[in-house]
Amino acid sequence: MALYSEKVMDHFRNPRNVGVIEDANGIGEVGNAKCGDIMKMYLKIEDDIVKDVKFETFGCGSAIASSSMATELIKGKPVSEAMKLTNKAVAEALDGLPAYKMHCSVLAEEAIRSALEDYQSRTGERILCDPPAHIGAEEEE
């Protein structure tokens, strides 16, 4: 059995939305190099819609795939909806991650939220939404 699902490998081999948005109005970076994973998300939000999203990731295959999938899941969505992105949704969209890699999906969720919060602090807009609970990541902490 392969380590990762076909979906994970597809997003790892052909990551979507890789790169930088020069005029991003929301940027979030989470993780640290000591732990081996860093994700940086760039958002371009217009009229409360995530018009564009790009990412840069230092990390393992599942970290890159999770970043890629997370960008796909929020692109074109209203900010309020993007704010509801969960690590579970990222992992499920990837047809699952190995238990010890679930933290990669958590990192993706946190990177998106961090970028949205950056947007919020820049614009002064309040996004009304409780952060969702992380699923399946407890054992990693």
């Binding site: 490998m9 790169g19 000591k34 081996g36 860093i38 840069e56 230092f58 990390g59 393992c60 010890y100």
Partner: protein
Amino acid sequence: MIIYADNAATTKMSRAAIEAMLPCMEEQYGNPSSLYSLGQQAKEILEKAREEIAAVIGASPKEIIFTSGGSEADNQAIRSAAEIGRRNGKMHIISTAFEHHAVLHTLEKLEREGFSVTLLDVHEDGLVRVEEVEDAIREDTCLVTVMTANNEIGTIQPIREIGAACRRRGVLFHTDAVQAVGHISLDVTNDNIDMLSASAHKFHGPKGVGFLYARKGIRLSNLIEGGAQERGKRAGTENVAGVAGMAAALKEAAAHREENAAHLTAVRDRLIEGLGQIPHCALNGDAKRRLPGNVSFCFEGIEGESLLLLLDDKGIQASSGSACTSGSLDPSHVLLAIGRVHDVAHGSLRLTIGEDITEEETDYIIRSVTEVVAYLRSFSPVWRDLCAGKTKFIL
């Protein structure tokens, strides 16, 4: 193109090993403990293998105990020395921070049983200093265990000198030679070795079999109790086919050792030279005092698992000491022991090449690793910050 470059993990079995094993399964399948001819034929195969293996390392056949592999041999050697020490009121053991877990975890267990353990630092060149071993020896030291060659960075330790220091001080010396046997010249007498562990599948033999050399007079403790096999020191019906395969593989490796080492060293040095051209990388361990087939690098700004997956897509099978490949949060204890910080240790790559590697494959590896490292750096936020001067390059 498929290039297997993880020979430190395991090796492809040699034709000679397979051919030595087949008759043990199809014809001489008797139990060596049985007195009828089929059993005695198996016994003969076993004892012939013991002689051949002993001859390669300069031991006498009675000093060889067959085990299930390197880990068992390490466990038994250390447990035996500890038991001898305990009887003599000597409960201090010296080892190094970058031993294999078969050694480190056994030592941790002994610590919980009341032993005190000194783990020596390894220098940045991946080498243990003889003087430091000697300085660490105390009145109550019962064992020094230092690996012959490291499994991740391939550095070859000054075991002859360490063994000599142990002899002078009357302390037993064990060496985990799993990565070395069959690849570099070893002689238990000249190298002052009291106990040595080896594993067949690291030199083109089968998995699940290895041996422990223990100098005559060293009383071994059993890990497995039962029948009187292996002079009563390792119970269980012998793995005759495995042992026959191991002997055939070792004989072949020993016969071709010099030519293999010359070829591998040339390829290794070409890889080190080629991969060394990648910006902000570092070779792990001394460039010369290392196993002929070992190349280990750290690349700044990338993570090892993604590097391995992309190399696999290009047909190159290698390994890394990154946390993500180990399933733990920490990168390899070996890389940390030689002073690589976490950030950099995550971006490690180990290539352990096989004897059949060609020049074309060597160049393909250099090209592929260079490409993949550049690609991963192209969207690494760590690399971006390094290049923008926001953080300082470590390598």
